[in-house]
Amino acid sequence: MSNPYIPSIAKIMDIIDETPDTKTFVIEPGLSFKPGQFVELTVFGYGEAPFSISGGNEDSIELSIRAVGNVTRKLHAMKIGEHIGIRGPFGNGWPLEKAEGRDLLIVAGGIGLAPLKPVIEWVCKNRSKLNEVTLIYGARKPSLLLFKRMFEEWKKCMNILLTVDEPEEGWKGEVGVVTKLCGKVKEFSDALTFMCGPPVMMKYASKTLIDLGFSPDDLYLSLERNMRCGIGICGHCAVSGMYVCKDGPIFPLDEALKFIEKPHEVQGVLD
């Protein structure tokens, strides 16, 4: 029996600057994972934190990480060739099989695009299995849009709608919240939606889509909680009898709604 608490050692093979605050780390060895799953990443001495896998395969995986906390700030200071610890993959992953033969709407905000990138890459590989595919992606500023380098490639397979809250020089696209763009996808008839982003964004985007006639059962959200063990034991990510780490992080909307623990909580996801 292998010990699920012991990380395996991985090496940073490449570091790609995505935005001023986000870097993609390419690490080896990789692992086989489902889009939407996450790993627990250890920076030895600093601690462990969960991160969605943003790409890769058994040979190497990519983790796109914003510097916000103790572990991530240290990680950002690390160099190619240094080592980290990895546990996982954990979590359930996006229900890709449900998308086959249907429209797919991908909605992302900010760093929320990271767990959806493997979905986009899957779409590009399996384009014929799907009908309409649209990516709606918003960020605070144009310079904070992730994976810009991939957009041209992705555009070959899907419709991409971008928006920013604060335009910068040279920005010709939309300005405003993601929700605004959601209103433009009326032509979808039988769509599955995968969504990840800040809680407020997910809340309003879901609401807009449901108003447009999207079925709540077809809306999948990726949630974030304080996952310490990653395997459903430590209790930190548990809500309403479910564990984000084990039963999620991806939940259909009505399940995800339970995570707010009811309205007066007004602190949590989708509040």
Binding site: M1, N3, P4, Y5, I6, P7, I9, K11, F44, G45, Y46, G47, E48, A49, V68, G69, T72, H83, G85, P198, P199, E224, R225, N226, R228, C229, I231, G232, I233, C234, G235, H236, A238, V239, S240, G241, M242, K246, E261, K262, H264, E265, Q267, G268, V269
Partner: protein, 336 residues
């Protein structure tokens, strides 16, 4: 098992001595507080008339434990697992609530096997004993009574003898010794009476009966959470003392220059401010929400997930709460 046996009180010491030859023995001792400890000599054991102040939990899930140690080397890190070898254990003298709590802990800790817990828990032999008279805070009868479903041997004081119920093959092997005698129907009757009397006493005090899996979810917005939130100290004692609470925090400790370190886990409490905090937000900032979470986790969410109440009615949280929050009162309000 159809035969019942008994053991003379005077022979109990010999029995325990015998156990200690093949197993490590854990039994209640009373120092400043009463708890289960590893026994070196049977005379250390203090069989209390009711539950110990500290539950069985720390034997299997210690308050603090190292998960692994690591050291930086030329090309990466070397990791040393802190998982220890197994120890053949016998727990002697546990009361019904504590034995019942193990079943619940097992569910939480071993749905995905926790190797540290599992290695300590596996093959542990349980020899329980009936409460003589309950504590004021006891309410195990709300969850089915004083005798748990699973045990290896169960002792009940019937005067000069302990009546012994056999609950497993392993238990049966243990009583094959000459120290045990066949019990008579009268002995069994006395045992039954004894248990009934004690249970009645608990019922009288506890005044709470829970039906199987009562729905309390509609009390989410009840005023009670505000009342409790005002008085709760968020000290976390109820969590730590609870035999079924199992949440833990994971921390990394290093030497001064960060070249070596260890990862430990420490019991955590869902009452603490930072328990549900992520890098982005704190999901249970409000004290009311934290108080409610503990109750819901034990009586609503556990039912959803495992079809059981994650409480055994030991009443330790009642005794330990400075603010005087009595989980029985809370439940009475919720099932009303």
């Amino acid at each position: 098992m159809d035969t019942f046996v008994k053991i003379a009180k005077s022979k109990l010491k010999d029995f325990l001595q015998h156990i200690m030859e093949n197993y490590t023995l854990y039994a209640p001792v009373k120092k400043k507080i009463s708890r289960f400890e590893r026994i070196e000599d049977p005379s250390q054991i203090c069989l209390l008339p009711n539950r110990t102040e500290i539950s069985l939990k720390p034997i299997f899930l210690p308050p603090k434990e190292s998960l692994f140690r690591w050291k930086k080397v030329e090309d990466g890190y070397i990791i040393e697992d802190c998982l220890n070898g197994k120890e053949k254990k016998v727990i002697f003298g546990a009361k019904g609530c504590d034995v019942a709590s193990l079943k619940i802990l097992d569910l939480y800790m071993m749905e995905v096997s926790d190797p540290y817990y599992a290695s300590r828990r596996k093959d542990t032999i349980i020899i329980g004993i009936t409460c003589e008279y309950p504590r004021e805070s006891c309410f195990c009868t709300a969850f089915g009574g004083m005798i748990p479903d699973e045990y290896d041997l169960w002792l009940t004081d019937i005067g000069d003898y302990y009546f012994v119920d056999i609950g497993s093959e392993r238990g049966k092997e243990l009583v094959s010794m000459e120290l045990f005698e066949r019990a008579s129907p009268e002995d069994e009757e006395r045992k039954r009476e004894k248990i009934e009397r004690a249970e009645q006493e608990i019922r009288k005090m506890a005044k709470i009966e829970l039906e199987e899996y009562q729905d309390m979810e509609d009390k989410f917005e009840d005023k009670i959470w505000e009342e409790l939130g005002d008085i709760c100290l968020s000290c976390g004692r109820c969590n730590l003392i609870c035999p079924t609470c199992h949440c833990f925090d994971v921390r990394d400790i290093t030497n001064l220059d960060g070249s070596a370190g260890e990862r430990i886990r420490v019991w955590d409490s869902c009452h603490l401010f930072e328990f549900a905090k992520t890098s982005a937000e704190n999901f249970r900032r409000d004290r009311r929400a934290r108080v409610r979470y503990r109750i819901y986790d034990k009586f609503v969410f556990s039912v959803k997930r495992y079809k059981l109440y994650a409480c055994v009615g030991c009443g330790r949280c009642i005794d330990s709460c400075h603010a005087g929050i009595d989980i029985r009162d809370v439940l009475r309000r919720l099932i009303r």
